[in-house]
Amino acid sequence: MAKVPVQFTLNGAEKAEFVDSGTTLLHALRDKIGDTSPKGGCHQGTCGACSVIIDGELRLSCLTLAETCNGAEIRTTSGLAEAGVLHPLQRAFLDAFATQCGFCTPGMIMAAKVLLDHTPNPSREEVVEALSGNICRCTGYEPIIQAVLRAARANSQNAA
């Protein structure tokens, strides 16, 4: 099958690969580029485990074809920590026990990051809405909601 070139920025770094036409972004990220932070859950757009940020918007990498991302700026959870220091959202997820099996966590964190990028001090309702496309089968959601609120508070304290 014909390979097609794809070129985009992943967490600030230029990436170029040849993929089979019709390859999903999730597949390209995990199996070609080696970023396994987005997870393949349902492949139907239901679970949100594959959520990534493309040009500032939350998207599902399992339903996005890699070749439609040429020139895009893609962000995943693996690019959040800087110089070994966890991102405030990652720190909050640990501190609030918002992770159990961890499978949904990268998607949850991406969804939460988009929320906090636009709404630094969200209400609980806004957090629930922002995470409404992400399914967690372990935590019962409450620790995740608390983690996002905690990260928002930490951000605003750092900014003050």
């Binding site: 099958m1 036409s21 999903t24 492949h43 939350l58 074809l65």
Partner: protein, 264 residues
């Protein structure tokens, strides 16, 4: 997965490519890529168009035109489309809304297609490159239609005349048990002079509740006066049965939810 993607800069060229067997149009990917992921081997090639007019929203003089590639998120945040925001927000979670398009929603099988229910109540016109058809005609023929939808046009409803409700059992977001959109014109004393009621999940695609619409004419929106309309709501329905709800259940609860929407 043997799937190829063809990208065209014009709808005309893409329409020509779609004539080939095994091709399907790719909008936001929430239907077409999902089908491929689920192992649908009937599609071997996806076709997409990058024409920017497909992503345009135009509102002028009380009329609105949404390009087929306009996303649910773009509708939900557009200040002049506030009346439609609840219907756009009813679709999926935030990531899905950044991807799912107006054009795709027109083809979404039940239990999906909540936004199309709103468009049906608005009696929208569905445009392709060389035709414009009323949405009801479009929906009836959508299984065999091959031409790319370029956009929809409709008269913007006044906020007080348009209502939308999606019922789902999972909170805050879940697949529809059913959805209802109503467009009611009323006189100063509240008497209904015209009514359009569209239902989602009550057939394999959005449908009008004609009997209920007729029964509502001349009524005021009180529990007593709408009773006949509610009794007629299930006329002609043929709801889907899926893991969310059975056809029987959907028929049972339809009058309850329609009543709540009308009395809200």
């Amino acid at each position: 997965m043997a799937l190829t993607l063809q990208t065209f800069s014009t709808v005309k060229d893409a329409n020509a490519a779609l004539m080939a067997e095994g091709t399907r149009y790719l909008g936001g990917g929430t239907l077409a890529v999902r089908a491929a992921n689920e192992g649908d081997v009937s599609v071997s090639s996806l076709v997409r168009v990058t024409e920017t007019s497909l992503s345009a929203i135009a509102v002028s003089g009380g009329d609105a035109r949404l390009g087929a590639s306009v996303t649910m998120a773009a509708i939900a945040r557009h200040p002049e489309l506030a009346a439609l925001a609840p219907a756009a927000r009813a679709v999926g979670g935030p990531a899905i809304r950044n991807m799912a398009t107006v054009g795709g929603n027109l083809f979404a099988p039940a239990p999906y297609g909540d936004f199309t229910v709103a468009l049906l109540a608005l009696d929208a016109i569905v445009a392709t490159e060389d035709s414009e058809v009323p949405i009801q005609t479009f929906l009836a023929g959508r299984d065999t239609s091959r031409a790319i939808v370029t956009g929809v046009t409709f008269v913007l409803p006044r906020a007080e005349s348009f209502r939308f409700l999606k019922v789902s059992r999972v909170k805050p977001k879940g697949v529809s048990v059913l959805s209802i959109a109503t467009l009611l014109e009323r006189t100063a004393d509240g008497t209904v002079t015209s009514a359009r009621i569209a239902l989602g999940c009550m057939a394999d695609r959005p449908m009008r509740a004609r009997a209920a619409e007729k029964a509502l004419l001349g009524c005021k929106l009180t529990a007593e006066e709408i009773a006949l309309a509610l009794a007629a709501a299930g006329e002609g329905t043929s709801p889907i049965t899926d893991p969310v709800a059975s056809a029987w259940y959907r028929n049972e609860v339809l009058p309850v939810h329609l009543g709540r929407l009308l009395l809200a």
